[in-house]
Amino acid sequence: MNVVVAMKQIPDLQQIRIRNRQPVLEDVPWTLGAIDKNALEAAVQIKEAQGGKVVLLSAGNEELEDTAKEALAAGADEALLIIDDELDKLGSAEVARILAAAIQRIEKVDLIIFGEGSGDNYSGQVGSRVAEILGLPQLGYASAIEVQEDSLRVSRSLEDGEELVELGLPAVVTVISGINEPRIASVTQILKAGKKPKEILEIGDLGLDLVDICPIKTESNLAPESDRKRVAVKTVDELVAALKGENLIGR
Protein backbone atom coordinates (compact mmCIF):
# COMPACT_ATOMS: atom_id res chain seq x y z
CA MET A 1 0.00 0.00 0.00
CA ASN A 2 1.59 3.24 -1.12
CA VAL A 3 0.46 6.28 0.78
CA VAL A 4 1.21 9.86 -0.17
CA VAL A 5 0.98 12.32 2.68
CA ALA A 6 0.78 15.99 1.78
CA MET A 7 2.19 18.38 4.37
CA LYS A 8 2.35 22.17 4.30
CA GLN A 9 5.40 24.21 5.14
CA ILE A 10 4.24 27.04 7.41
CA PRO A 11 5.91 29.69 9.59
CA ASP A 12 6.21 28.62 13.22
CA LEU A 13 3.11 30.37 14.54
CA GLN A 14 4.42 30.56 18.11
CA GLN A 15 7.23 32.78 16.94
CA ILE A 16 5.28 35.34 14.96
CA ARG A 17 5.44 38.75 16.63
CA ILE A 18 2.96 41.53 16.07
CA ARG A 19 4.26 45.08 15.61
CA ASN A 20 1.77 47.91 14.96
CA ARG A 21 -0.82 45.21 14.23
CA GLN A 22 1.43 43.86 11.45
CA PRO A 23 2.72 40.28 11.66
CA VAL A 24 6.51 40.17 11.64
CA LEU A 25 7.69 37.09 9.73
CA GLU A 26 11.41 37.86 9.42
CA ASP A 27 13.56 35.23 11.12
CA VAL A 28 10.55 33.07 11.97
CA PRO A 29 11.58 29.44 11.38
CA TRP A 30 9.58 27.16 9.09
CA THR A 31 7.82 24.05 10.26
CA LEU A 32 5.07 21.65 9.18
CA GLY A 33 1.39 22.10 10.03
CA ALA A 34 0.24 20.48 13.28
CA ILE A 35 -2.65 18.48 11.78
CA ASP A 36 -0.37 17.50 8.90
CA LYS A 37 1.67 15.60 11.48
CA ASN A 38 -1.45 13.60 12.35
CA ALA A 39 -1.83 12.88 8.62
CA LEU A 40 1.76 11.60 8.51
CA GLU A 41 1.22 9.44 11.59
CA ALA A 42 -1.93 7.93 10.04
CA ALA A 43 0.04 7.14 6.87
CA VAL A 44 2.92 5.57 8.80
CA GLN A 45 0.54 3.41 10.86
CA ILE A 46 -1.10 2.13 7.66
CA LYS A 47 2.29 1.31 6.16
CA GLU A 48 3.37 -0.49 9.31
CA ALA A 49 0.24 -2.65 9.19
CA GLN A 50 0.03 -3.19 5.43
CA GLY A 51 3.54 -2.81 4.06
CA GLY A 52 4.36 -0.49 1.17
CA LYS A 53 5.77 2.98 1.59
CA VAL A 54 4.96 6.51 2.68
CA VAL A 55 5.86 9.32 0.31
CA LEU A 56 6.03 12.81 1.77
CA LEU A 57 4.76 15.44 -0.65
CA SER A 58 5.32 19.10 0.09
CA ALA A 59 5.64 22.36 -1.77
CA GLY A 60 7.42 25.34 -0.30
CA ASN A 61 10.29 27.78 -0.32
CA GLU A 62 14.04 27.12 -0.36
CA GLU A 63 13.99 26.09 3.32
CA LEU A 64 11.76 23.11 2.50
CA GLU A 65 14.50 20.48 2.36
CA ASP A 66 15.31 21.34 5.93
CA THR A 67 11.66 21.59 7.04
CA ALA A 68 10.90 18.20 5.50
CA LYS A 69 13.55 16.38 7.56
CA GLU A 70 11.21 16.28 10.52
CA ALA A 71 8.67 14.24 8.53
CA LEU A 72 11.30 11.90 7.10
CA ALA A 73 12.49 11.31 10.65
CA ALA A 74 8.95 10.62 11.86
CA GLY A 75 8.39 7.81 9.38
CA ALA A 76 8.09 8.96 5.75
CA ASP A 77 10.25 6.76 3.51
CA GLU A 78 10.95 9.24 0.77
CA ALA A 79 10.09 12.78 -0.23
CA LEU A 80 8.88 14.55 -3.33
CA LEU A 81 9.46 18.25 -2.80
CA ILE A 82 8.45 21.13 -5.01
CA ILE A 83 10.71 24.00 -4.10
CA ASP A 84 10.00 27.43 -5.47
CA ASP A 85 10.02 30.79 -3.73
CA GLU A 86 6.88 31.70 -5.70
CA LEU A 87 4.97 29.18 -3.58
CA ASP A 88 4.68 31.51 -0.56
CA LYS A 89 2.47 33.74 -2.71
CA LEU A 90 0.19 31.08 -4.16
CA GLY A 91 -3.29 30.19 -2.96
CA SER A 92 -5.13 26.89 -2.46
CA ALA A 93 -6.24 26.61 -6.10
CA GLU A 94 -2.71 26.93 -7.46
CA VAL A 95 -1.17 24.67 -4.83
CA ALA A 96 -3.78 21.97 -5.44
CA ARG A 97 -2.88 21.92 -9.14
CA ILE A 98 0.81 21.68 -8.27
CA LEU A 99 0.33 18.85 -5.76
CA ALA A 100 -1.98 16.92 -8.08
CA ALA A 101 0.53 17.17 -10.93
CA ALA A 102 3.27 15.94 -8.60
CA ILE A 103 1.15 13.00 -7.41
CA GLN A 104 0.65 11.95 -11.02
CA ARG A 105 4.41 11.44 -11.25
CA ILE A 106 4.43 8.96 -8.37
CA GLU A 107 3.97 5.35 -9.36
CA LYS A 108 0.99 3.42 -7.98
CA VAL A 109 -0.57 5.69 -5.40
CA ASP A 110 -3.25 3.95 -3.31
CA LEU A 111 -4.11 6.62 -0.80
CA ILE A 112 -3.45 10.34 -0.36
CA ILE A 113 -3.76 11.79 3.13
CA PHE A 114 -4.02 15.45 4.13
CA GLY A 115 -4.66 17.23 7.42
CA GLU A 116 -8.16 18.74 7.50
CA GLY A 117 -6.68 22.23 7.36
CA SER A 118 -3.29 23.88 7.32
CA GLY A 119 -1.85 25.38 10.47
CA ASP A 120 -1.66 28.91 9.11
CA ASN A 121 -4.43 29.52 6.59
CA TYR A 122 -6.75 26.69 7.70
CA SER A 123 -8.66 26.90 4.45
CA GLY A 124 -9.33 23.17 4.16
CA GLN A 125 -9.67 23.27 0.37
CA VAL A 126 -6.58 21.61 -0.99
CA GLY A 127 -7.47 17.99 -0.22
CA SER A 128 -10.87 18.33 -1.89
CA ARG A 129 -9.42 20.15 -4.87
CA VAL A 130 -6.75 17.49 -5.38
CA ALA A 131 -9.40 14.74 -5.21
CA GLU A 132 -11.40 16.50 -7.92
CA ILE A 133 -8.39 17.10 -10.17
CA LEU A 134 -7.38 13.45 -9.92
CA GLY A 135 -10.98 12.23 -10.21
CA LEU A 136 -10.79 10.33 -6.93
CA PRO A 137 -13.39 9.71 -4.21
CA GLN A 138 -12.73 11.61 -1.02
CA LEU A 139 -13.53 11.51 2.65
CA GLY A 140 -12.93 14.48 4.95
CA TYR A 141 -12.50 14.80 8.73
CA ALA A 142 -11.48 11.19 9.36
CA SER A 143 -11.20 10.15 13.01
CA ALA A 144 -10.26 6.53 12.17
CA ILE A 145 -9.10 4.72 9.02
CA GLU A 146 -9.38 0.98 8.53
CA VAL A 147 -7.82 -0.53 5.41
CA GLN A 148 -9.71 -3.38 3.73
CA GLU A 149 -8.55 -5.30 0.66
CA ASP A 150 -9.15 -2.63 -1.97
CA SER A 151 -11.25 -0.22 0.00
CA LEU A 152 -11.25 1.86 3.17
CA ARG A 153 -13.62 2.12 6.08
CA VAL A 154 -13.37 5.57 7.52
CA SER A 155 -15.14 7.30 10.40
CA ARG A 156 -15.95 10.88 9.53
CA SER A 157 -16.35 13.21 12.49
CA LEU A 158 -19.04 15.86 11.97
CA GLU A 159 -20.42 18.50 14.34
CA ASP A 160 -23.54 16.45 15.03
CA GLY A 161 -22.31 12.88 14.77
CA GLU A 162 -19.99 10.27 13.27
CA GLU A 163 -20.43 8.67 9.87
CA LEU A 164 -18.99 5.28 9.04
CA VAL A 165 -18.24 5.32 5.34
CA GLU A 166 -16.72 2.89 2.84
CA LEU A 167 -14.87 4.06 -0.24
CA GLY A 168 -12.80 2.41 -2.93
CA LEU A 169 -9.08 2.94 -3.49
CA PRO A 170 -7.34 5.00 -4.63
CA ALA A 171 -8.85 7.80 -2.56
CA VAL A 172 -8.15 11.09 -0.80
CA VAL A 173 -8.70 11.29 2.96
CA THR A 174 -8.28 14.28 5.29
CA VAL A 175 -7.82 13.64 9.01
CA ILE A 176 -8.64 15.51 12.20
CA SER A 177 -6.09 15.94 14.98
CA GLY A 178 -7.97 13.50 17.22
CA ILE A 179 -7.17 10.54 14.94
CA ASN A 180 -3.84 9.77 16.63
CA GLU A 181 -0.92 11.15 18.55
CA PRO A 182 2.05 11.76 16.24
CA ARG A 183 5.23 9.97 17.27
CA ILE A 184 8.34 11.88 18.27
CA ALA A 185 11.34 10.89 16.17
CA SER A 186 14.33 9.37 17.94
CA VAL A 187 17.83 10.78 17.55
CA THR A 188 18.79 7.85 15.28
CA GLN A 189 15.75 8.47 13.10
CA ILE A 190 16.63 12.15 12.85
CA LEU A 191 20.18 11.28 11.79
CA LYS A 192 18.93 8.80 9.18
CA ALA A 193 16.35 11.22 7.80
CA GLY A 194 18.95 13.16 5.83
CA LYS A 195 19.88 10.01 3.89
CA LYS A 196 16.36 9.09 2.77
CA PRO A 197 15.61 9.48 -0.96
CA LYS A 198 14.41 12.87 -2.08
CA GLU A 199 13.28 14.16 -5.43
CA ILE A 200 13.24 17.91 -5.82
CA LEU A 201 11.29 19.71 -8.54
CA GLU A 202 10.47 23.26 -9.46
CA ILE A 203 6.99 24.40 -10.49
CA GLY A 204 8.27 24.71 -14.05
CA ASP A 205 9.08 20.98 -14.14
CA LEU A 206 5.40 20.09 -13.77
CA GLY A 207 4.32 21.57 -17.08
CA LEU A 208 1.35 23.41 -15.61
CA ASP A 209 -0.54 26.38 -16.93
CA LEU A 210 -1.86 28.29 -13.93
CA VAL A 211 -3.41 31.24 -15.79
CA ASP A 212 -7.05 30.09 -15.70
CA ILE A 213 -7.32 30.40 -11.92
CA CYS A 214 -9.37 33.05 -10.07
CA PRO A 215 -6.66 34.12 -7.61
CA ILE A 216 -7.15 35.33 -4.05
CA LYS A 217 -6.05 38.92 -3.41
CA THR A 218 -5.26 40.20 0.05
CA GLU A 219 -6.29 43.78 0.86
CA SER A 220 -4.97 43.78 4.41
CA ASN A 221 -3.75 41.34 7.04
CA LEU A 222 -3.68 42.81 10.53
CA ALA A 223 -3.83 41.58 14.09
CA PRO A 224 -7.28 42.27 15.54
CA GLU A 225 -7.55 45.28 17.81
CA SER A 226 -8.08 44.39 21.42
CA ASP A 227 -9.75 46.79 23.83
CA ARG A 228 -9.62 44.65 26.96
CA LYS A 229 -9.58 46.33 30.35
CA ARG A 230 -6.48 44.44 31.54
CA VAL A 231 -7.25 44.89 35.23
CA ALA A 232 -5.00 42.86 37.52
CA VAL A 233 -7.01 41.38 40.38
CA LYS A 234 -5.28 40.07 43.48
CA THR A 235 -7.96 38.05 45.27
CA VAL A 236 -11.03 35.99 44.47
CA ASP A 237 -13.17 38.49 46.40
CA GLU A 238 -11.96 41.25 44.11
CA LEU A 239 -12.75 39.11 41.08
CA VAL A 240 -16.26 38.30 42.35
CA ALA A 241 -16.89 42.00 43.00
CA ALA A 242 -15.68 42.87 39.49
CA LEU A 243 -17.93 40.26 37.87
CA LYS A 244 -20.90 41.44 39.94
CA GLY A 245 -20.11 44.94 38.70
CA GLU A 246 -20.30 43.63 35.14
CA ASN A 247 -23.64 42.03 36.02
CA LEU A 248 -22.19 38.63 35.13
CA ILE A 249 -22.90 36.84 38.41
CA GLY A 250 -25.96 36.84 40.60
CA ARG A 251 -28.09 37.64 37.53
Partner: protein, 311 residues
Protein backbone atom coordinates in the same frame (compact mmCIF):
# COMPACT_ATOMS: atom_id res chain seq x y z
CA UNK B 1 -31.67 36.69 -14.18
CA UNK B 2 -28.11 36.08 -13.03
CA UNK B 3 -27.94 35.10 -9.42
CA UNK B 4 -26.20 33.94 -6.29
CA UNK B 5 -26.76 30.31 -5.39
CA UNK B 6 -26.80 29.23 -1.75
CA UNK B 7 -26.68 25.75 -0.27
CA UNK B 8 -26.31 24.22 3.16
CA UNK B 9 -27.51 20.85 4.41
CA UNK B 10 -28.42 22.54 7.72
CA UNK B 11 -31.61 24.65 7.85
CA UNK B 12 -30.35 27.33 10.24
CA UNK B 13 -27.11 27.74 8.29
CA UNK B 14 -29.01 28.02 5.00
CA UNK B 15 -31.02 30.87 6.56
CA UNK B 16 -27.79 32.59 7.63
CA UNK B 17 -26.46 32.24 4.08
CA UNK B 18 -29.63 33.89 2.81
CA UNK B 19 -28.82 36.97 4.89
CA UNK B 20 -25.32 37.20 3.38
CA UNK B 21 -26.57 36.47 -0.13
CA UNK B 22 -29.11 39.32 0.05
CA UNK B 23 -26.39 41.72 1.14
CA UNK B 24 -24.32 40.85 -1.94
CA UNK B 25 -27.32 40.54 -4.26
CA UNK B 26 -28.65 44.00 -3.35
CA UNK B 27 -25.30 45.61 -4.10
CA UNK B 28 -24.87 43.72 -7.35
CA UNK B 29 -28.42 43.59 -8.71
CA UNK B 30 -28.51 39.81 -8.59
CA UNK B 31 -31.26 37.37 -7.63
CA UNK B 32 -30.79 35.00 -4.70
CA UNK B 33 -31.51 31.36 -5.52
CA UNK B 34 -31.49 28.48 -3.09
CA UNK B 35 -30.64 24.86 -3.83
CA UNK B 36 -32.32 22.32 -1.52
CA UNK B 37 -31.20 18.77 -2.13
CA UNK B 38 -33.49 15.87 -1.18
CA UNK B 39 -34.92 17.98 1.62
CA UNK B 40 -38.59 18.92 1.27
CA UNK B 41 -38.91 20.55 4.70
CA UNK B 42 -35.91 22.79 4.03
CA UNK B 43 -37.45 23.81 0.69
CA UNK B 44 -40.59 24.93 2.53
CA UNK B 45 -38.61 26.75 5.22
CA UNK B 46 -36.49 28.69 2.75
CA UNK B 47 -39.44 29.48 0.53
CA UNK B 48 -41.16 30.93 3.59
CA UNK B 49 -38.14 33.22 3.98
CA UNK B 50 -39.16 34.87 0.69
CA UNK B 51 -36.73 33.36 -1.77
CA UNK B 52 -36.89 31.23 -4.90
CA UNK B 53 -36.06 27.65 -3.98
CA UNK B 54 -34.82 25.11 -6.52
CA UNK B 55 -35.76 21.72 -5.22
CA UNK B 56 -33.44 18.96 -6.36
CA UNK B 57 -34.73 15.42 -5.86
CA UNK B 58 -32.17 12.85 -6.91
CA UNK B 59 -31.28 9.83 -4.76
CA UNK B 60 -27.84 9.66 -6.41
CA UNK B 61 -26.88 12.86 -4.59
CA UNK B 62 -25.81 11.82 -1.10
CA UNK B 63 -24.41 14.13 1.58
CA UNK B 64 -21.75 11.59 2.62
CA UNK B 65 -20.20 11.89 -0.84
CA UNK B 66 -19.35 15.54 -1.41
CA UNK B 67 -18.41 14.75 -5.02
CA UNK B 68 -22.08 14.05 -5.79
CA UNK B 69 -23.27 17.19 -3.98
CA UNK B 70 -20.64 19.27 -5.76
CA UNK B 71 -21.68 17.83 -9.13
CA UNK B 72 -25.34 18.67 -8.42
CA UNK B 73 -24.47 22.22 -7.39
CA UNK B 74 -22.22 22.70 -10.39
CA UNK B 75 -25.06 21.76 -12.67
CA UNK B 76 -27.53 23.92 -10.74
CA UNK B 77 -25.26 26.96 -10.84
CA UNK B 78 -24.86 26.52 -14.59
CA UNK B 79 -28.58 26.11 -15.28
CA UNK B 80 -29.44 29.03 -12.99
CA UNK B 81 -26.70 31.39 -14.22
CA UNK B 82 -25.05 31.80 -10.82
CA UNK B 83 -21.32 32.48 -10.83
CA UNK B 84 -21.27 33.07 -7.04
CA UNK B 85 -22.07 30.16 -4.72
CA UNK B 86 -22.37 30.54 -0.93
CA UNK B 87 -21.82 27.56 1.37
CA UNK B 88 -21.58 27.29 5.14
CA UNK B 89 -18.22 26.74 6.81
CA UNK B 90 -19.17 23.74 8.89
CA UNK B 91 -17.22 20.54 8.23
CA UNK B 92 -19.57 19.35 5.51
CA UNK B 93 -19.52 22.74 3.81
CA UNK B 94 -15.75 23.15 3.88
CA UNK B 95 -15.19 19.68 2.44
CA UNK B 96 -17.71 20.41 -0.29
CA UNK B 97 -16.27 23.86 -1.03
CA UNK B 98 -12.91 22.73 -2.37
CA UNK B 99 -14.46 20.09 -4.58
CA UNK B 100 -17.10 22.43 -5.99
CA UNK B 101 -14.63 25.28 -6.51
CA UNK B 102 -12.33 22.95 -8.43
CA UNK B 103 -15.22 21.68 -10.60
CA UNK B 104 -16.29 25.26 -11.37
CA UNK B 105 -12.77 26.60 -11.85
CA UNK B 106 -13.68 29.07 -9.11
CA UNK B 107 -11.69 30.85 -6.45
CA UNK B 108 -12.74 29.96 -2.93
CA UNK B 109 -12.50 31.51 0.51
CA UNK B 110 -13.58 29.52 3.57
CA UNK B 111 -14.28 30.52 7.20
CA UNK B 112 -15.53 33.97 6.19
CA UNK B 113 -16.73 35.99 9.19
CA UNK B 114 -17.65 39.28 7.49
CA UNK B 115 -18.51 40.41 3.96
CA UNK B 116 -18.53 43.83 2.32
CA UNK B 117 -19.16 44.61 -1.33
CA UNK B 118 -16.63 47.15 -2.62
CA UNK B 119 -17.40 47.92 -6.27
CA UNK B 120 -16.52 44.85 -8.30
CA UNK B 121 -14.92 43.11 -5.35
CA UNK B 122 -16.49 41.16 -2.50
CA UNK B 123 -14.24 41.77 0.47
CA UNK B 124 -14.24 38.91 2.95
CA UNK B 125 -12.71 38.73 6.40
CA UNK B 126 -11.12 35.53 7.64
CA UNK B 127 -8.49 34.50 10.14
CA UNK B 128 -4.95 34.11 8.85
CA UNK B 129 -1.63 32.95 10.28
CA UNK B 130 -3.42 30.59 12.63
CA UNK B 131 -5.58 33.41 13.98
CA UNK B 132 -2.77 35.85 14.73
CA UNK B 133 -4.24 38.15 12.12
CA UNK B 134 -7.52 38.82 10.38
CA UNK B 135 -7.14 39.17 6.62
CA UNK B 136 -9.41 41.02 4.23
CA UNK B 137 -9.36 39.14 0.94
CA UNK B 138 -11.31 38.90 -2.27
CA UNK B 139 -11.44 36.57 -5.22
CA UNK B 140 -10.21 38.19 -8.42
CA UNK B 141 -12.55 36.65 -10.95
CA UNK B 142 -16.21 35.97 -11.73
CA UNK B 143 -16.43 32.45 -10.36
CA UNK B 144 -16.51 32.54 -6.59
CA UNK B 145 -17.29 30.04 -3.86
CA UNK B 146 -17.70 31.89 -0.56
CA UNK B 147 -17.93 29.80 2.58
CA UNK B 148 -19.45 31.55 5.58
CA UNK B 149 -18.69 30.76 9.19
CA UNK B 150 -21.77 29.61 11.18
CA UNK B 151 -23.36 32.25 13.43
CA UNK B 152 -21.54 35.19 11.84
CA UNK B 153 -24.83 36.41 10.35
CA UNK B 154 -28.37 36.37 11.71
CA UNK B 155 -30.71 33.89 10.02
CA UNK B 156 -33.19 35.45 7.56
CA UNK B 157 -36.69 35.70 8.97
CA UNK B 158 -39.97 34.83 7.30
CA UNK B 159 -41.18 37.05 4.50
CA UNK B 160 -43.50 36.87 1.49
CA UNK B 161 -42.57 36.29 -2.10
CA UNK B 162 -40.96 32.86 -1.91
CA UNK B 163 -41.56 30.01 -4.32
CA UNK B 164 -40.45 26.47 -5.03
CA UNK B 165 -39.60 25.04 -8.42
CA UNK B 166 -38.15 21.65 -9.23
CA UNK B 167 -34.75 21.40 -10.82
CA UNK B 168 -33.47 18.23 -12.46
CA UNK B 169 -29.76 17.49 -12.24
CA UNK B 170 -27.79 14.44 -13.32
CA UNK B 171 -24.80 13.17 -11.34
CA UNK B 172 -22.53 10.18 -11.71
CA UNK B 173 -23.08 7.25 -9.32
CA UNK B 174 -21.42 7.68 -5.93
CA UNK B 175 -18.22 5.83 -5.08
CA UNK B 176 -18.74 6.40 -1.37
CA UNK B 177 -21.06 4.23 0.69
CA UNK B 178 -22.54 5.39 3.98
CA UNK B 179 -22.67 2.38 6.30
CA UNK B 180 -23.83 4.01 9.49
CA UNK B 181 -24.51 7.40 11.08
CA UNK B 182 -24.21 7.71 14.83
CA UNK B 183 -25.80 10.96 15.97
CA UNK B 184 -24.19 12.72 18.90
CA UNK B 185 -25.97 12.24 22.15
CA UNK B 186 -28.65 14.95 22.19
CA UNK B 187 -27.65 15.80 25.75
CA UNK B 188 -24.18 16.71 24.52
CA UNK B 189 -23.25 20.29 25.21
CA UNK B 190 -22.95 22.95 22.54
CA UNK B 191 -20.29 25.32 23.87
CA UNK B 192 -21.06 27.84 21.12
CA UNK B 193 -24.49 28.40 22.69
CA UNK B 194 -23.34 28.77 26.30
CA UNK B 195 -23.55 32.30 27.78
CA UNK B 196 -20.66 31.53 30.12
CA UNK B 197 -17.65 29.30 29.44
CA UNK B 198 -15.11 28.11 31.95
CA UNK B 199 -12.21 27.06 29.77
CA UNK B 200 -9.40 24.88 31.11
CA UNK B 201 -5.94 24.46 29.65
CA UNK B 202 -2.81 22.50 30.35
CA UNK B 203 -2.41 24.19 33.73
CA UNK B 204 -5.04 21.79 35.06
CA UNK B 205 -3.29 19.18 37.21
CA UNK B 206 -5.49 16.14 36.72
CA UNK B 207 -8.71 14.87 35.25
CA UNK B 208 -10.14 14.62 38.79
CA UNK B 209 -9.90 18.41 39.10
CA UNK B 210 -12.51 18.73 36.34
CA UNK B 211 -15.30 18.04 38.84
CA UNK B 212 -14.74 21.30 40.68
CA UNK B 213 -14.37 23.18 37.38
CA UNK B 214 -17.68 21.66 36.26
CA UNK B 215 -19.27 22.79 39.50
CA UNK B 216 -17.96 26.33 39.00
CA UNK B 217 -19.30 26.40 35.44
CA UNK B 218 -22.75 25.39 36.68
CA UNK B 219 -22.72 28.11 39.36
CA UNK B 220 -21.84 30.70 36.73
CA UNK B 221 -24.63 29.41 34.50
CA UNK B 222 -22.29 28.02 31.87
CA UNK B 223 -20.36 25.07 30.52
CA UNK B 224 -16.83 23.72 30.60
CA UNK B 225 -14.68 24.01 27.49
CA UNK B 226 -10.98 23.36 26.96
CA UNK B 227 -7.89 24.03 24.87
CA UNK B 228 -7.01 21.45 22.24
CA UNK B 229 -4.35 19.41 24.10
CA UNK B 230 -6.82 18.56 26.86
CA UNK B 231 -9.05 16.79 24.36
CA UNK B 232 -6.64 15.44 21.75
CA UNK B 233 -3.57 14.56 23.86
CA UNK B 234 -4.93 13.99 27.36
CA UNK B 235 -8.45 13.02 26.30
CA UNK B 236 -9.93 14.47 29.50
CA UNK B 237 -12.76 16.17 27.60
CA UNK B 238 -14.48 15.34 24.29
CA UNK B 239 -13.36 17.00 21.08
CA UNK B 240 -16.58 19.04 20.83
CA UNK B 241 -15.46 21.08 23.88
CA UNK B 242 -12.35 22.39 22.15
CA UNK B 243 -12.08 26.16 21.65
CA UNK B 244 -9.77 27.39 18.89
CA UNK B 245 -8.86 27.50 15.24
CA UNK B 246 -9.70 23.87 14.53
CA UNK B 247 -12.28 23.76 17.34
CA UNK B 248 -15.23 26.02 18.16
CA UNK B 249 -15.32 29.78 17.87
CA UNK B 250 -17.34 31.03 20.82
CA UNK B 251 -18.71 34.42 21.85
CA UNK B 252 -19.94 33.98 25.42
CA UNK B 253 -20.83 36.90 27.69
CA UNK B 254 -18.16 35.67 30.09
CA UNK B 255 -15.12 33.45 29.50
CA UNK B 256 -13.10 32.32 32.51
CA UNK B 257 -9.77 30.99 31.21
CA UNK B 258 -7.97 28.73 33.64
CA UNK B 259 -4.37 27.59 33.19
CA UNK B 260 -4.25 28.72 29.57
CA UNK B 261 -1.14 30.28 28.08
CA UNK B 262 -2.90 32.07 25.22
CA UNK B 263 -1.48 30.81 21.91
CA UNK B 264 -3.23 32.38 18.94
CA UNK B 265 -4.65 29.09 17.70
CA UNK B 266 -6.54 29.02 20.98
CA UNK B 267 -7.43 32.68 21.48
CA UNK B 268 -8.95 32.93 17.99
CA UNK B 269 -11.78 30.78 19.34
CA UNK B 270 -12.57 32.96 22.37
CA UNK B 271 -11.42 36.50 21.63
CA UNK B 272 -14.95 37.59 20.75
CA UNK B 273 -16.14 36.97 24.32
CA UNK B 274 -17.70 40.02 26.01
CA UNK B 275 -15.64 39.73 29.19
CA UNK B 276 -12.52 37.60 29.61
CA UNK B 277 -11.05 36.52 32.92
CA UNK B 278 -7.63 34.86 32.97
CA UNK B 279 -6.14 32.86 35.81
CA UNK B 280 -2.61 31.60 35.27
CA UNK B 281 0.22 31.09 37.74
CA UNK B 282 2.72 32.28 35.15
CA UNK B 283 2.75 36.07 35.27
CA UNK B 284 4.32 36.16 31.81
CA UNK B 285 1.57 34.10 30.18
CA UNK B 286 0.27 35.97 27.16
CA UNK B 287 -3.33 35.38 28.24
CA UNK B 288 -2.96 38.07 30.93
CA UNK B 289 -2.47 40.66 28.18
CA UNK B 290 -5.75 39.94 26.45
CA UNK B 291 -8.00 39.59 29.52
CA UNK B 292 -10.30 42.12 31.14
CA UNK B 293 -9.51 40.72 34.58
CA UNK B 294 -6.37 38.74 35.18
CA UNK B 295 -5.10 36.93 38.22
CA UNK B 296 -1.63 35.53 38.69
CA UNK B 297 -2.58 32.57 40.87
CA UNK B 298 -2.92 28.80 41.03
CA UNK B 299 -6.11 27.93 39.19
CA UNK B 300 -7.00 25.08 41.55
CA UNK B 301 -7.02 27.41 44.53
CA UNK B 302 -9.01 30.04 42.63
CA UNK B 303 -11.60 27.46 41.52
CA UNK B 304 -12.00 26.29 45.13
CA UNK B 305 -12.42 29.83 46.45
CA UNK B 306 -14.81 30.80 43.66
CA UNK B 307 -16.91 27.71 44.32
CA UNK B 308 -17.08 28.72 47.99
CA UNK B 309 -17.84 32.35 47.22
CA UNK B 310 -20.65 31.47 44.83
CA UNK B 311 -22.13 28.70 46.99
Amino acid sequence: MAGILIYSDKDNLALELLTVARLIADARGLEVKVACINNASQSNLLSAAGVRVYKIENPAVIPADVATVAAALKEASGQLDCSIVLLSSNRRGRELAGRLAQMLGAGCLTDISAVKVEGEQIHCQRNALGGATVATQYIDGDKQVLVIVPRAFTPASAQDGGSIVELAVEVLPSRVKLLEFRAKDSSSVDIEEAPVLVVVGQGLNSQEDLASVESLAKKLGGEVACSKPLATDKKWLPEDRVVGLSGKKCQPDLAVLLGISGQVQFTVGIRDAQVMVAVNSDENAYIHQIADYSMVADLHQVVKELNDALA
